[in-house]
């Protein structure tokens, strides 16, 4: 008999209970993975790789670059999607194989990083102004290309917001691969990342090339964004990158603990998010977007964490002028 989805019509606690009880079955492999479980695993794998990168980018203060990269990667993918769509013609645009996605994304990621480097270094433009210029320019090129080439294959919200409710087990494999790559990279070159983030000058002295690791980080970021852009959409990836990292930052001050607890927070938030969407669906017949719900849970938990910490300063001791600046706000 067709196994009805065990999570149908279940409230929040029921969901958690069934999920915990089904984990041993899933591991032992004698029951088929259902859409909700697929969502939880996919979201948590994505949370792991995103928050790992988020911690390093937050400490390097280049999170805005992640925002611009995710936008331009979207443009690369949309253009690749379109070229295949228009050339294939007819009314069945098959979804692109992952390979073409990667190539398109890597090209656009490289273009963005190179262009913003060129703008800041040789044209002497402010850092954030150059990032802003580059990604809006490429994004508007993307939109013009889309509307000109195919009048009706509109970008739609799906490309920008992703759709966590339309997952296929193939995504799980792909995300497993990305998470494995990210985790192994962070374990292997942990001290290089620590050094290049904390004190690039000293790293140069120790003959660790900072540019190599910053480009490696960009590479990792691009692969993660490709993997998760279909799931959570371009702009939500950013909150998975920065959210857990900021949340962990409030509580933990060692680099290792940050790298450990940020993904943990990400996983907990994804589970709560999926459980809540299932709850709203079965209780109030309100099909809400799971991505939006996870981010709302993230925002609420960050807000709660702030209240709990009751305005204690975070870890770095303010240098003298920063102290004057914050005194100004008293």
């Amino acid at each position: 008999m067709l196994s009805l989805n065990p999570y149908w019509g279940v409230n929040f606690f029921g969901f958690l209970w069934t999920f915990i009880s089904r984990i041993p079955l899933l591991i032992s492999g004698n029951c088929q993975m259902v859409q909700d479980e697929l969502q939880i695993f996919v979201l948590s794998l994505m949370a792991i790789s995103c928050s790992l990168i988020g911690v390093v980018m937050m400490l390097k203060k280049t999170t805005m670059l992640a925002n611009s990269l995710s936008h331009t990667i979207l443009v690369g993918i949309v253009i690749a999607y379109l070229l295949s769509f228009s050339s294939q013609g007819g009314f069945h645009p098959f979804s692109l194989s992952i390979k073409t996605f990667i190539i398109a994304a890597l090209i656009s990621a490289l273009i963005t990083t190179f262009l913003s480097e060129f703008l800041t270094k040789s044209l002497k433009l402010q850092e954030d102004a150059s990032i802003g210029l580059v990604f809006t320019f490429l994004f508007s090129l993307g939109i013009v290309a889309v509307t000109v080439f195919s009048r009706n294959a509109h970008i739609g919200t799906e490309v920008v917001m992703g759709n966590v409710d339309a997952l296929v087990s193939k995504d799980l494999l792909w995300l497993l691969f990305i998470a494995a790559v990210n985790i192994s990279l962070f374990i292997l070159c942990y001290k290089e990342y620590l050094l290049t983030t904390f004190d690039p000058v000293f790293a140069k002295f120790m003959k660790i090339s900072t540019t190599f690791f910053s480009y490696l980080l960009m590479l990792q970021l691009s692969i993660t964004v490709i993997g998760s852009f279909r799931i959570v959409g371009v702009i939500m990836v950013l909150s998975y990158i920065i959210g857990p990292a900021l949340l962990a930052r409030l509580f933990f001050h060692q680099f290792t603990k940050l790298l450990l607890f940020a993904p943990l927070f990400g996983i907990v938030i994804s589970i709560i998010g999926v459980a809540l969407t299932r709850h709203f669906l079965s209780m109030y017949q309100m099909p809400l977007s799971t991505a939006g719900m996870c981010i709302a849970v993230l925002a609420v938990s960050y807000f709660l964490a702030l209240i709990i910490k009751k305005r204690k300063k975070s870890w770095q001791l303010p240098s003298l002028d920063q102290q004057d600046q914050s005194e100004k706000a008293l």
Binding site: P318, L320, D321, K328, L330
Partner: protein, 253 residues
């Protein structure tokens, strides 16, 4: 003796860490006063508190009678400014007069005249139309002083005017300050170089989070006071201060 600046058990905290701790002193008029102390002793904070930029945690500090704004002129640190800002030297000096301008009011010819005069005083008249990012460190400092002079102040407060400028400009600035002192103005300078203290200044405030001494240079700058301010026998106080900071930030449960 009528005093110009008075502080009564002034206390300033930044997020539970004390920066100035019950400081009380009086400084007489028409004197050149140096505010001296090691790094992080709260020198600039004292200056900013006197300007009411920072609200003290407890106690008070004020300039007494002439407390209204246009009589007090402040010269901030050079490093806190983005010198790539698109304004000319004359514009910067004119800013001194913006306090009196009402909205929609244009800068009057008299203000421009006063600005050129102030530039003359600091010897920067020929640079008036020059762009500020083309000025050297010394010239930028003199520009800030001209901006303060344009306000026709009775009290002049300068935050580390001598840091990062060449010898020639330092000599010129000192001559200017002495001339201003003789004209009846009181000058307060945050200073860090102990060697030039007795030649330039006649009054000094020596602080290191706590007030160590306030009076004529000879009286205050005794070996014992200096040792107290810069030496290490403050270590006990330092230790306690450090512990309280750690506690405040929640490292030690």
């Amino acid at each position: 003796m009528n005093c110009i600046l008075e502080a009564q058990d002034l206390c300033i905290h930044y997020n539970k860490t004390p920066i100035l701790w019950d400081v009380s002193f009086k400084v007489p008029k028409h004197h050149m006063t140096a505010i001296v102390g090691p790094n992080g002793a709260g020198k600039s904070t004292l200056l900013k508190a006197s300007l009411q930029i920072i609200k003290p945690f407890s106690g008070s500090i004020s300039f007494g009678r002439c407390n209204s704004d246009n009589h007090i002129a402040y010269v901030p640190q050079k490093e806190s400014i983005d010198w790539d800002f698109p304004v000319s030297a004359l514009d910067v000096v004119l800013m001194g007069r913006y306090g009196r301008l009402k909205y929609f009011q244009r800068v009057k010819a008299a203000d421009k005249e006063a600005a050129m005069q102030a530039l003359q005083q600091v010897g920067m008249a020929s640079y008036s139309s020059r762009q500020i990012n083309q000025l050297s460190g010394g010239q930028q400092q003199r520009l800030f002083i001209a901006r303060a002079l344009v306000q026709k102040p009775d009290v002049l407060l300068l935050d580390e005017p001598f840091s990062g400028i060449d010898m020639a400009t330092e000599k010129l600035l000192i001559e200017l300050f002495i001339k201003l002192k003789n004209e009846g103005k009181s000058i307060f300078i945050v200073h860090h170089d102990l060697t030039t203290l007795d030649q330039y200044f006649d009054w000094v405030i020596l602080i290191n989070t706590r007030l160590i001494g306030c009076g004529p240079v000879k009286e205050v700058m005794t070996q014992e006071n200096i040792q107290k301010a810069y030496g290490n026998n403050l270590s006990l106080f330092e230790e306690a201060h450090h512990l309280s900071k750690k506690q405040a930030e929640g490292y030690i449960s």
